[in-house]
């Protein structure tokens, strides 16, 4: 491919020796860079394909052996006879805990990002941004331990409060006694864990709002909040969606912190405050070591579902962004 580009180009009309040398080193650099960048692109596709093929084959084996319904069985027993397992509980736990995390984290993250980018004095903004970024460097097992030792006992009061005032919604009705090792607690912990990534990306986007867009609002007599509403948020909208998707990706796949906090049980309960439940990643981590061959394939099949779920979420986000593309700040 690279050589065809060289042959397509007409020979330069008798250049001076110095000029020719410059040109040829330029060409060589072009070729090397083209090769490197193309190679990297192909490498990525090969890796993706390898993962997808591996997951699909193993998952296919597991699903064909499954005597229950892979989507609707409320049980995970690949070692039984007959083996029966389904992902319903995991799908529910994963999606619900991530949705709780997003509902808590995204508004707070946008608030922090706006504060750092548009409200805080410069002397405060830089250290604050640094501290938020630092939160992302904490290993997830540390979050997990903190969640189990601190968050779980201290959420008891909040759980009682939610139970007595919002118990009628069923979701916040606590029907089982026990500490708060629940899907709801996992959601709160995940919210704290995805806060830094959503905040940093949003902050960067808000900082990129062109000065002239903000001045347009200012010159019309907009207050600081109105400038944010008229110029900053519309411009940053797609960026905030992307940031949220990055956070959601992390929440969906988080393993150690969830495994440490949750007291896993293979039940699907709408009572989010009750201990128990499970997520894809937590279930894999908890069961992989002791699983037999079919058990491992079954876990891989559940991993494939998580993979597809993440893809769907990303696709949906891209559609949301693309739908209003002509109104986006990009073509200003």
């Amino acid at each position: 491919m690279a050589s065809s580009i060289a042959t397509d180009t007409p020979p330069p009309p008798a250049p001076a020796p110095a000029a020719r040398r410059n040109q040829s080193t330029g060409r060589a650099g072009d070729k090397i860079f083209l090769g490197l960048s193309r190679g990297s692109g192909i490498f990525l596709l090969v890796v993706m394909a390898a993962i997808a093929i591996f997951l699909s084959i193993r998952a296919g084996i597991a699903i064909s052996e499954d005597q229950g319904n892979f989507l609707t069985t409320f049980d995970w027993n690949p070692a039984g006879s007959p083996p029966a397992f389904g992902i319903a509980v995991l799908l529910f736990g994963t999606v619900v805990s991530s949705v709780i995390a997003m509902a808590i984290a995204v508004p707070i993250a946008v608030g922090i990002a706006l504060f750092i980018s548009h409200y805080a004095p410069r002397k405060l903004a830089a250290p604050l941004a640094y501290v938020v970024d630092l939160l992302a460097a904490v290993p997830s097992i540390v979050y997990g331990i903190w969640g189990a030792l601190f968050l779980v006992p201290y959420l008891g009061g909040l759980n009682e409060w939610l139970d007595s005032y919002l118990g009628w919604t069923v979701l916040f009705e606590k029907t089982e006694v026990g500490v708060a090792r629940s899907i709801f607690t996992v959601g709160i912990l995940l919210a704290i864990m995805i806060l830094p990534i959503v905040t940093s990306v949003s902050r960067e986007v808000f900082l990129q709002v062109p000065r002239m867009n903000e001045e347009a609002a200012l010159a019309l007599g907009a207050t600081r909040w109105e400038v944010i509403r008229l110029s900053v948020l519309p411009f940053g909208r797609s960026g905030v969606i992307s940031a949220s998707m990055l956070g959601l990706g992390r929440a969906l796949g988080e393993t150690m912190a969830v495994a440490t906090v949750l007291s896993p049980s293979y039940v699907l309960s709408l009572h989010l405050l009750n201990p128990g439940g499970g997520t894809f990643a937590q279930n894999i981590a908890a069961k992989f070591d002791e699983a037999n061959q079919l058990g491992r394939d079954a876990l891989i099949a559940s991993g494939l579902v998580l993979f597809v779920l993440t893809l769907l979420v990303n696709g949906a986000a891209r559609m949301i962004i693309a739908r209003r593309k002509e109104y986006s700040g990009a073509n200003a």
């Binding site: 410069r122 062109p210 002239m212 867009n213 001045e215 347009a216 609002a217 200012l218 010159a219 019309l220 007599g221 907009a222 207050t223 109105e226 008229l230 110029s231 519309p234 411009f235 909208r237 209003r324 002509e326 109104y327 986006s328 700040g329 990009a330 073509n331 200003a332």
Partner: protein, 258 residues
Amino acid sequence: MAKRIDVSGLSAYYGAHKAIDDISMTVEPRSVTAFIGPSGCGKSTFLRTLNRMHEVTPGGRVEGKVLLDDENLYGSAVDPVAVRRTVGMVFQRPNPFPTMSIFDNVAAGLRLNGKFKKSELADVVEKSLKGANLWNEVKDRLNKPGSGLSGGQQQRLCIARAIAVEPDVLLMDEPCSALDPISTLAIEDLIGELKGRFTIVIVTHNMQQAARVSDRTAFFNLAAVGQPGKLIEIDETERIFSNPSVQATEDYISGRFG
């Protein structure tokens, strides 16, 4: 309601750097006043002090007085946001709100002022777009994004947005410098029409433009790079371009300088 601007002893700073020094002048209502001068002479900075936009730049600070009729814009009880609602501004590069439709762009200032009634908004939007000579070009696509228009149309959209709130004064910071000659001509014609209703101040690098559109012209200069800009003289445009009273003005407009 066009108002007179009376500036006295005005200096503006960026942090410790003094950008303009001790400027005093009067801008007449219902007329066009042009600011000319070499780059860095502070004419844009001075323009931005007239609607308190200078101070939104980090480190931006102003000393002195700007009277709009009899009210000092820099009085201690004056809210800069309220000032900007009565002194409109058009920028060097067209800056419609990219995420808003043409209609919403023009209505933005009205909505900030608390007007939300659809029929009322539609009337003012139509009037403003007609006032900006843009109505015929966009009346069939008011719901399309403003960023889809050509540069000249976008600039007229920005003018429509600025005049929709009926400001006392309209400030224009090199409004044609990013436009082609035909769009420039359209804007210049528009300025001629608008001066019957507003006090207009325009900063321009183009001396022919100053001569074409303005009634009075102010010449700014700076002693050297890094020195604050100063007002050299302000007079009838005709006089500035034919027989200025200061030699530096003569040198600048005849191209012997800057």
